[in-house]
Symmetry: C2
Subunit: 257 residues, 2 copies
């Protein structure tokens, strides 16, 4: 049965709007929103230990033709109320409220991890999650003061792939565990590393992408197993962080399968 809500002051609607706009609200409630059918289908089809779809919210004249999943609390709103829940035009008229479940970080036996070091831009984080899933990386680690991964712009930029990607905030203790277990810390740097295309990689790597403004932090540079540089023509000072990370991930995964 679909619940109908018509008041903008309904507590559930106020809660959803807070999740869409406030990092504090997301952190306090451990929930966030996803927009569009693609992300919702992914959550329904893919058993995830990190995420559980709890509510669906529909714009009444736009989303009702689609077959709705059973067993999920579903709310229908007048279109004008629905539109206030998103900062972009959501043409499909559907969004989901997702609970983020605390899951311990499990170190994969093999494979590669992407570590983002003080990455600040939500579009970059979302795009890097999408590329990490596409390349077949085993997870994304957030180190330092990164953008919050449940920001709607991050989720949107992942294009439905976030549910497939284990994401964990880690500190130096977890990083020590990883390097103790044989993961190589491969830190990208604009200058002075070995050429990416002339570097030999093993089977277990942590690829580090630094912040957009300052690159990798001194701490990680010091601890690097190897420093790697994407060869650039002199006319180009640097690459976008999401581009640089994606180039390295696909190269490492495919040149050293």
């Amino acid at each position: 049965m679909i619940r109908e809500i018509t008041s903008a002051t309904n507590p559930f609607i106020k809660h959803v709007r807070a999740l869409a706009t406030s990092k504090k609200a997301r952190q306090e409630s451990g929930a966030f929103i996803v927009e569009g059918w693609r992300s919702i289908q992914t959550l329904l089809e893919h058993e995830s230990r990190q995420y559980r779809l709890e509510h669906l919210v529909l714009a009444e004249t736009r989303a009702t033709h689609a077959p709705l999943p059973e067993g999920i609390d579903t709310v229908s709103l007048p279109d004008h109320l629905f539109e206030k829940l998103s900062d972009v035009r959501n043409a499909q008229g559907i969004l989901g409220v997702v609970r983020h479940l605390p899951a311990p970080f499990e170190i994969p036996e093999n494979g590669n991890l992407l570590l983002l070091d003080n990455l600040r831009d939500p579009g970059n984080l979302g795009t890097l999650i999408r590329s990490a899933v596409g390349a077949g990386f085993s997870g994304v680690l957030l180190y330092g003061d990164c953008v919050e991964p449940f920001n709607p712009k991050v989720i949107r930029s992942t294009m439905g792939t976030f549910a497939y990607c284990p994401i964990h905030s880690i500190g130096d203790a977890e990083l020590n565990d990883l390097t103790d277990r044989g993961f190589a810390l491969c830190v990208t740097t604009g200058l002075g590393g070995t050429n990416l295309y002339q570097t030999a990689f093993g089977k277990r790597n942590i690829l580090v992408i630094g912040s957009e403004a300052h690159g990798a932090s001194a701490n990680l540079m010091q601890r690097a197993t190897q420093k790697i540089t994407i060869p650039l023509a002199a006319e180009c000072e640097s690459l976008n962080a999401a581009i640089a990370g994606s180039i390295c991930m696909f190269h490492i995964q495919n040149a050293y399968p």
Copy 2:
């Protein structure tokens, strides 16, 4: 000598604002704007056949401390007028008006070209120009109904590299010239091409990146010398167009130097 303008209705200011906001104004006057010192320095230091810096516009309390180039008409505005010329915060308080000079498309003897087929997003175009310059590609070709390259968001996303990158709109006649001269047409496709990392490339390639929504057009798919696919995990349907293009450009340029 610096001209001072204090009226929002001054014809020059109205012209600059039109260049910032209107594709029609840019096309009719053959000019566009660039923001920030980096792009302006590039234009001053790099002799370009395609671009000529004609005016500098300064926010009076913010930009006057910097050494100004000689021989360029320079205008100073009150900060509140300057701010109306840009849709982003231009912290450096400087922009340039640049003339776009008609330059014939000269086919390079060797090297690789990026062809964008109905690419619509200004951020993707700017990022791809930046990556093409970084990878050492010889130019960018716009085919079909691409986003206008002098859109301020495109120029901004190139991070100062646009002046180094020959950009030309081409049709089938120019494309025939290129393939007649031995350029291989390498069309990226999400499904069914040969694996990028298992493909042999020659010395002269035209890498085709299709539109964000529909991929490469049927015409180019039919004419392809080879179709190439970036290997993707099943969980990821596609990559962002700027990411896909950058992965292919850096791979082709570095694996087949």
